[in-house]
């Protein structure tokens, strides 16, 4: 009788524990739509990545039709973002197997990566010798082809763009306020061109520079932007009325932005590098800080972090720069002990 009671009690206890764990695992971040002026009133698919400080525990969610849904795939970090863990592991194993066969030390993780329908480019901190290309058809991994003089030194590869039959790689030189831009043949993986030039002390990370669809590069600097034009391989300066902190590009436009306590100041540039608008837009809450930004379909997406608001830790905002309107704001409360670090 006693044994029977013990087993029934234990079973009930385990069931309760299981229900508690299930509820914890399936708990969603609490979100509120504060602004919604989108024409369709529905935010297109957006992925949110939460992580702890060590970047080891991650949770991913999809925001679709104004609802958050958990993504069951576990994500893991690389230098500049997050990837499904099996993809990151596969690419890293590919490179480390290659390196092992060449008698080289393995890598812990890649700094940046690029993927299109044909290839995957994996960039590790270092020079051209630390960049590998995976052919998606054959799954064959290859290093780049270059002569020693082309290798300008150790860099952090910030951006990669496909440009006709070549790829443009933009890197920030390690331990220097300088940048390297390489043009790589898409078929032979040969370095065709290289450029090296000094940049501002403000342009130190990925979001302080950008590559346009034409392969032009912009870098933030005091009271303007430094422009490297791919066509004529010349440097130029674009003066602005403010000192930008971040710069983003998409197909036809580039935006340089800076923040004050309450406002987002921006200048919108066209393909011809002309400033077509300089204006201001509101922040979702004073003292909001940019974590991630990008242009998509002519709209500026910004993931903010805010430590001042009593409830909301993050905001995902969409600005329409053509009409100078604040179109959408999703406010998110703190989620367990994880921070919202990326959206895409």
């Amino acid at each position: 009788m006693k044994t029977k009671s013990f087993w029934i009690g234990s079973l009930c206890f385990l069931i309760l524990i299981g229900i508690f764990v299930y509820l914890q695992l399936t708990k969603l971040p609490t979100s509120t739509v504060l602004v919604n002026n989108l024409s369709c009133h529905v935010l297109n698919q957006l992925s949110l990545i939460y992580s702890d400080i060590s970047l080891k525990t991650t949770r991913a969610f999809q925001y679709k039709a104004n609802k958050l849904q958990p993504i069951t795939t576990r994500y893991t970090s690389y230098g500049e973002g997050f990837l499904p863990w099996h993809t990151q592991k596969y690419y890293l194993n590919k490179v480390n197997t290659y390196r092992q066969n060449e008698g080289l030390v393995p890598f812990q993780n890649f700094y940046n990566y690029y993927e299109d329908k044909d290839i995957v480019i994996l960039c590790f901190i270092g020079g051209l010798e630390n960049i590998y290309v995976l052919n998606k058809q054959t799954q064959e991994l290859s290093p780049l082809n270059y002569i020693a003089e082309d290798n300008l030194g150790t860099m952090y590869v910030f951006h990669i763009k496909r440009l006709n039959d070549s790829y443009i790689l933009l890197g920030g030189e390690a331990n220097a306020y300088a940048s390297m831009i390489y043009e790589m043949d898409a078929t032979s993986l040969t370095i065709r061109n290289k450029m090296y030039f000094k940049t501002s002390t403000l342009a130190i990370s990925k979001q302080n520079c950008t590559l346009t669809a034409e392969g032009d590069a912009y870098f933030v600097q005091e009271k303007g932007l430094l422009l490297f034009c791919q066509k004529n391989k010349q440097l130029d300066e674009i003066p602005l009325s403010f000192s930008p902190q971040f710069v983003f590009s998409q197909e036809n436009s580039t935006v340089a932005i800076a923040f004050t306590r309450d406002t987002l100041n921006y200048s919108l540039l066209d393909k011809a590098h002309e400033v077509i608008r300089t204006d201001k837009l509101p922040l979702p809450h004073p003292h909001s800080e940019l974590l991630r930004g990008f242009l998509r379909n002519d709209k500026l997406y910004i993931l903010y972090y805010n430590s001042y608001h009593p409830f909301y830790s993050n905001y995902i905002c969409i600005y329409n720069l053509q009409t100078n309107t604040f179109d959408y704001c999703l406010a998110l409360e703190a989620y367990k002990n994880l921070a919202l670090l990326d959206i895409y």
Binding site: I53, S54, P106, A174, N175, I204, S205, S313, A334
Partner: protein, 281 residues
């Protein structure tokens, strides 16, 4: 005759279980108590001192106990236009009340962090200007009651990167220096009486010989110029020893820990927070 009954096996098991549990709880309590040291001095108004054109020894000492910044850093910051504002911000962070928590890094090791009002980890201080070759150190990691800490070497002062060997199962790698702002305790150390060129030599060696090698907690100091394994404090030791012959292990033992590095007389503290001003560790 009185016969003393021997305790049964069951009671012996209970006794030893309770004994080791108590010992473990004491270690946890000790670890938690030493997780953050509040400033020993009362907060004072710094504006009068900061507005001086030059500082004397007493001024530097006051600034140090009020902000955690040593004279070389104060002189570096004095070149900037918003010097007074900057120092007051450092003071504000230095005296801010904190709430400590910890989270597991693996089965046995935990890492402390600070909680804001929303229960999230946050970066509670600004790192003062640093140079290549500077050493970042924290005592905010512990394993089974031993507060061993962690350290890293600044290898890119412009883009903010440190070289670190984190934990078993990892390979040493470059990391974002801003990550150190999340540790409750922090010290920036610099080897005294060496030139910038020598520090760069140390960094170059570390990046070519100590980057991308496996973590080994029992890794020996006697591995020569091309070590096969390292750990956080050994990486620091190897960097300076194999380039400049500088031995940063304060007790010259077989094993070098972050505490051994912190107590080295060859280092000066440039910035600290969460540590005692009067003790190296």
């Amino acid at each position: 005759m009185l016969r003393i009954k021997q305790p049964s096996l069951k009671y012996k098991v209970y006794f030893y279980f309770l004994f080791f549990l108590s010992l473990y709880m004491l270690c946890i309590f000790g670890v938690r108590k030493s997780g953050y040291t509040v400033p020993h001095a009362m907060r004072q108004d710094l504006l009068t001192v900061l507005s001086n054109q030059t500082f004397n020894e007493a001024d530097y000492a006051l600034i140090y106990e009020q902000t955690g910044l040593a004279a070389p850093i104060v002189n570096e910051l004095k070149k900037h236009s918003a010097f007074e504002q900057k120092l007051l911000e450092f003071q504000e962070n230095f005296f801010k009340k904190v709430k400590l928590a910890d989270r597991p890094l693996n089965l046995v090791t935990k890492e402390d962090y600070l909680l804001n009002e929303k229960g999230l980890a946050y970066a509670h201080f600004e790192i003062a200007p640093y140079k290549n070759g500077d050493i970042f150190l924290t005592k905010s990691t512990h394993t089974l009651g031993w507060r061993h800490g962690h350290c890293g070497l600044v290898v890119d002062e412009k883009r903010g990167k440190t070289l670190e060997a984190f934990s078993p199962g990892t390979i040493s790698s470059e990391n974002d220096a801003n990550r150190w702002r999340y540790y409750p305790t922090f010290k920036m150390l610099r080897v005294i009486n060496i030139t910038s060129e020598q520090k760069q030599e140390v960094v170059n060696y570390a990046l070519t010989h100590l980057n991308g090698i496996p973590y080994g907690i029992l890794a020996s100091k006697e591995q020569g110029q091309t070590p096969q394994k390292t750990h956080c404090s050994l990486l620091i030791w190897q960097s300076f020893y194999y380039t400049l012959g500088i031995d940063l292990d304060s007790n010259k033992g077989y094993f070098v820990s972050p505490e051994n590095i912190a107590k080295s007389s060859l280092l000066e503290t440039l910035q600290f927070i969460g540590f005692s001003a009067k003790k190296e560790w």
